[in-house]
């Protein structure tokens, strides 16, 4: 390495990235492949390739129930985390106050904490308080680590936000409420939307917290986890694919909605 461009080195690096990507996606591809069979035992390559497992999964009662539990938890987590994190982000990135650095460090602590251990600790905590674990307690557990994540996501947006815009609006005759509605919230909206998206996806896919805190209710990742060991059938990978597709659709819908809102915004000003 001596500063000159090296085509060989460049193509080595590109090949390395490709290898990383392939390795990263092997499990997902494996799940998809496994779902296209109709035998109760995994025997690849399948003798018959079929989508029967998907038909069974969609017809079965479990699929809907699992999705509903995961969806309830995720929506509750989104709403609460976005509200808490919006305030938290203001304290994190917008205002200057004594103790801000300490708050910043405290806030990231739950991220630097083993999740299953947190789940077990919360289980003991709920039981000590006499609360029966259910999907609500699972949502609470999710929030403990998702609130810091969403706060960071919104904060990153806030750092790029020019606070003087608020002074300018106020100076141009806006009331405090108008400043909030016309300047602050629209500027923060993208951060809040991506924060909500993070919250949804992280809650939807969470296993280590749900496993210990959801009590009798079962989320999708929990069910898949229990079925990987026992009671295998092609329906298990099929439901895994469906669950992943649902979260992918949420992302796409959010992206579409956002660009649509942006497009309408632009069109409204030119007409």
């Amino acid at each position: 390495m001596n500063g000159r461009a090296k085509p060989l080195f460049d193509s080595l690096q590109a090949a390395w990235l490709l290898l990383v990507l392939v390795l990263l996606y092997i499990p997902m591809i494996s799940v998809a492949l496994a779902s296209l069979s109709n035998t109760r035992y995994m025997l690849f390559p399948h003798r018959t390739w079929t989508t029967d497992a998907y038909a069974d999964a969609l017809a079965g009662y479990t699929t809907g129930a699992l999705h509903l539990t995961s969806l309830r938890i995720a929506l509750l987590v989104v709403v609460i985390s976005v509200v808490l994190a919006s305030f938290g982000a203001l304290a994190f990135a917008r205002f200057d106050w004594r103790g801000r650095r300490a708050f910043q460090r405290f806030l990231v602590l739950p991220l630097f904490f083993p999740q299953p251990v947190l789940g077990l600790a919360l289980l003991v905590y709920f039981t000590a308080l006499g609360i029966t674990p259910s999907w609500q307690t699972a949502a609470f557990a999710h929030l403990v680590w998702i609130v810091p994540v969403v706060t960071l996501v919104i904060s990153i947006r806030l750092y790029n936000y020019d606070v003087l815009q608020e002074d300018a609006a106020f100076d141009l005759g806006a009331t405090r409420l108008q400043v909030l509605r016309e300047v602050t919230l629209p500027a923060l909206a993208p951060g809040i939307v991506s924060g909500a998206l993070f919250a949804f996806l992280l809650s939807w896919s969470n296993l280590p917290l749900s496993v210990f805190t959801s009590g009798a209710d079962t989320t999708l990742p929990e069910w898949l986890y229990s079925r990987t060991a026992t009671n295998y059938s092609p329906m298990v990978p099929a439901i895994a694919v469906i669950a992943t597709a649902v979260s992918a659709m949420v992302v796409i819908a959010a992206a579409l909605g956002l660009s649509l809102a942006r497009g309408r915004d632009g069109a409204g000003t030119t007409s």
């Binding site: 500063g3 690096q13 690849f44 630097f112 000590a128 750092y159």
Partner: protein, 281 residues
């Protein structure tokens, strides 16, 4: 005229929530760990019996396995993530954004799906890998599934992005002209790494390594799905005390030991890192 500081007002909801959902639960567990064995309330007189039992009955073993696994995972992830971060940084702007996105995507796919996929891939006989090789070349291969090595593979697979992204942030903060200047002054590739890149990328690497270590320390799904419980990891040990043995105080003591180990790693690193400037990027 004197109003409460808006910073303090806006941090209150999050602070209260994290106290109720993070700090107090840990304190409650700590309190349980001081209760007499096999009790279920907090009325007993405090004792250190459980900690003594934890050491006497060999519970340091699961903690050691977890710590070893976490350390190995962190090391392997760092070694794999460094060239990846360098490559992504080198191609920055072009298709690297897409690759970065593709690497990030699996974080949002459930661990159970991904580990399940790894298991399907590695299964002996009719697994995706063994089955394909058998069908293509007529060769039967063995498997590492249900061994410690498979669990380690799973740990590396799951935690790789957590090391990569902070590291990528760190690498992108290394000014290109400083690297060029060092080369111009006659530094070799290794010297550039040691003298310029490594120190400047260090905060990112530290955050990534820390995340990886702490998350792997508590991980148990990898051992359960891929490792076939070849060894007992600390989370499984705690769960057994809580659920099957019905010995809450001992489970709590093991939890506290894990929390202490985590704190011993997290606090010194976190104290040296400026969260503000890292988030600002």
């Amino acid at each position: 005229m004197r109003r409460p500081n808006p910073g303090i007002l806006t941090m209150l909801p999050v602070l209260v929530f994290l106290l109720a959902g993070f700090v107090i639960p840990i304190l409650v567990v700590a309190l349980y760990s001081l209760m007499p064995p096999r009790t279920f309330d907090l009325a007993g007189s405090p004792t250190f019996t459980n900690y003594a039992t934890a050491f006497a009955d060999g519970y340091w073993r699961p903690l050691m396995w977890s710590a070893l696994g976490a350390a190995a995972t962190t090391l392997i992830c760092l070694v794999l993530a460094w060239p990846t971060a360098r490559a992504l940084d080198r191609f920055a702007g072009r298709w690297a954004t897409l690759v970065t996105l593709l690497i990030a995507l699996p974080i949002f796919i459930s661990e159970s799906v991904r580990l399940f996929g790894l298991a399907l891939f590695m299964m002996p006989g009719g697994g995706i890998l063994a089955g394909s090789i058998d069908a293509l070349f007529g060769v039967s291969i063995g498997t590492i599934l249900y061994t410690r090595l498979a669990a380690l593979l799973g740990l590396v697979y799951i935690h790789f992005p957590f090391v990569l992204f902070p590291l990528l942030l760190g690498v992108s903060l290394v000014p290109k002209d400083q690297v060029a200047a060092a080369r111009d002054l006659g530094a070799s590739g290794w010297q550039v790494f040691r003298e310029i890149e490594a120190p400047l990328a260090a905060p990112g690497a530290a955050v990534g390594a820390l995340l990886c270590f702490v998350l792997s320390l508590g991980a148990n799904a990898e051992m359960n799905i891929l490792g076939g419980q070849a060894v007992t990891v600390i989370t499984n040990a705690i769960e057994q005390r809580f659920n099957y043995a019905q010995d809450w105080p001992l489970g709590a003591a093991l939890t506290v030991l894990t929390v202490l180990l985590t704190a011993a790693v997290v606090f010194p690193v976190l104290r040296r890192i400026d969260v503000d400037s890292l988030a600002r990027r």
